[in-house]
């Protein structure tokens, strides 16, 4: 446990809170990078996912592309892109955006697909326009699975952003790599603990959002006993979509 003691001491060391490469700066870099990557990936994946889910067309292609992208090892993609466009933040942004797209895309269309067809058909039959069906029925009902997709994308980005310090001087991963090089285990472990805490915090936040966005009527059911169960999104569905690669 002395090793952990040293790691904690490293985290708390005031010297690590000033100057270049201070902990708060690194944490912000890591978070900012994760956030920006998610935004860009969402901007690409969500419209496509909604279009696929709404029309039911192009699903086969999306599954194939996502499946293919997921099989690619993240470190390989990262180093390859870094060789192409050089050392720096460009490569991680490109590589991680590509990696974040499949889970978000899958969450977006699977969310729509999980909706009872009858409800959508009825909405159309009583005179909702396609835009109204999208905005008032499909998006609110599909949101929990979309958030699930974002959640696994976020986890993957946080994890791979740590690796990205291999090709760029940024984020918490720097502590791990420089600790490895100088055999400074306290720094390495301290940095690792920070990454783990960050990842778990994100996981917790997303888990909470995912619960909140389950529409009331879907979450409630007749028997109070059932309530706790149906309040969560279907586990089977979620694990198939959101897990798979990191």
């Amino acid at each position: 446990m002395t090793i952990f003691g040293a790691a904690i001491a490293w985290i708390l060391d005031a010297a690590n809170y000033t100057g270049a490469g201070a902990i708060p700066g690194r944490v912000l870099e890591h978070l900012g990078f994760t956030f920006l990557t998610l935004v860009v990936a969402s901007a690409i994946a969500i419209p496509f996912g909604f279009a696929i889910g709404h029309t039911g067309r192009g699903r086969g292609l999306a599954v194939a592309v996502s499946g293919g992208l997921r099989a690619i090892p993240t470190l390989g993609l990262l180093t390859l892109v870094a060789l192409w466009i050089g050392i720096g933040l460009g490569a991680p942004y490109v590589a991680l955006t590509v990696l974040a797209i499949p889970p978000i895309l899958a969450g977006a269309y699977a969310g729509f697909e999980a909706i009872d067809r009858g409800a959508i058909d009825a909405a159309r039959a009583v005179g909702m326009s396609e835009a109204q069906i999208l905005g008032q029925v499909e998006i609110p009902l599909g949101l929990p699975l979309l958030i699930g997709g974002l959640r696994s994308a976020a986890l993957q980005v946080v994890a791979t952003a740590t690796l990205a310090a291999y090709v760029a001087d940024f984020g918490l991963g720097r502590y791990l790599f420089s600790g490895l090089k100088t055999r400074d285990y306290a720094q390495m472990l301290g940095g690792s603990i920070l990454v783990v805490v960050l990842a778990l915090a994100l996981e917790g936040i997303f888990a909470m959002i995912q619960r909140i966005v389950v529409p009331r009527g879907v979450a409630t059911s007749r028997l109070p006993v059932d309530r706790a169960r149906s309040a969560r999104p279907r586990p089977g569905m979620e694990s198939a979509i959101t897990k798979g690669n990191r």
């Binding site: 470190l75 390859l80 994890a159 090709v167 791990l176 603990i193 994100l202 798979g244």
Partner: protein, 220 residues
């Protein structure tokens, strides 16, 4: 792609290293996840605890995991054992949920009738629940296999040899072909193990051949 032809030996060696790192975790995670998944499916309390814990473990990024483990269990940072343990943790975290869901998906009527004709809990598990949950478990195991093979490459950044070493080496020496060869080899290896699991499934679950691919399979 000249690089690949002249370095087939190297690729082969790294492939073997990679297999040694990734096959044991796949098998171990199945073996460990079975009882845990059964427990998760059986009692409400254990379900909450086990599934939450596995969710959190799964959320831990792999690189820090490789570094934290030696401090926790005393493995050597660069040893294959360290990676095998880490990869097994991820495999179990993924698989436990699949086992729990798979067992839950077994038709209640089938279970009741099995109990009614006199199966004990133990024989019921082995002879009724497990085979019927088989297709779901297989689908889950395939996901574990593919993700373990992909994840094992990360070990290269702490200096553990695997196909991932082709990435770090190729990056440092500026050889694109080496990285591409590594990616191709990793994907092929994943496909190979996936195919092996499908074949094993056909032997172990002969009745599923009559049906079309299960839903979970296509979703992954």
């Amino acid at each position: 792609m000249n690089w690949a032809w002249t370095n087939l030996d190297l690729i082969w060696d790294r492939t073997i290293d990679h297999l040694i790192l990734s096959v044991p975790p796949i098998i171990l995670s199945f073996v460990i996840a079975l009882p845990l998944g059964w427990l998760a499916n059986r009692y409400r309390l254990s379900r909450g605890v086990i599934l939450t814990a596995s969710g959190l473990l799964y959320a831990i990024p792999s690189f820090p995991m490789f570094i934290v483990l030696p401090a926790l269990v005393g493995t050597t940072l660069r040893s294959p054992l360290n990676l095998v343990i880490a990869l097994t943790i991820y495999g179990v975290a993924l698989m436990v949920r699949v086992v729990a869901d798979g067992l839950a998906s077994v038709d209640v009527d089938v279970q009741r009738s099995a109990v009614a004709v006199g199966f004990s809990t133990w024989t019921n598990f082995w002879q009724v629940e497990l085979p019927l949950a088989g297709p779901v478990l297989l689908a889950g195991l395939r996901v574990v296999a593919v993700s373990t093979v992909s994840l094992a490459t990360v070990g290269a950044v702490i200096g553990a040899q695997s196909l991932g070493s082709l990435f770090t080496d190729g990056f440092q020496r500026g050889i694109q072909a080496e990285i591409i060869a590594g990616i191709v080899a990793t994907v092929l290896l994943a496909l190979l193990l996936d195919g092996a699991l499908v074949a094993a499934g056909r032997i172990a679950l002969p009745w599923t051949r009559l049906r079309k691919t299960s839903k979970v399979e296509t979703a992954t």
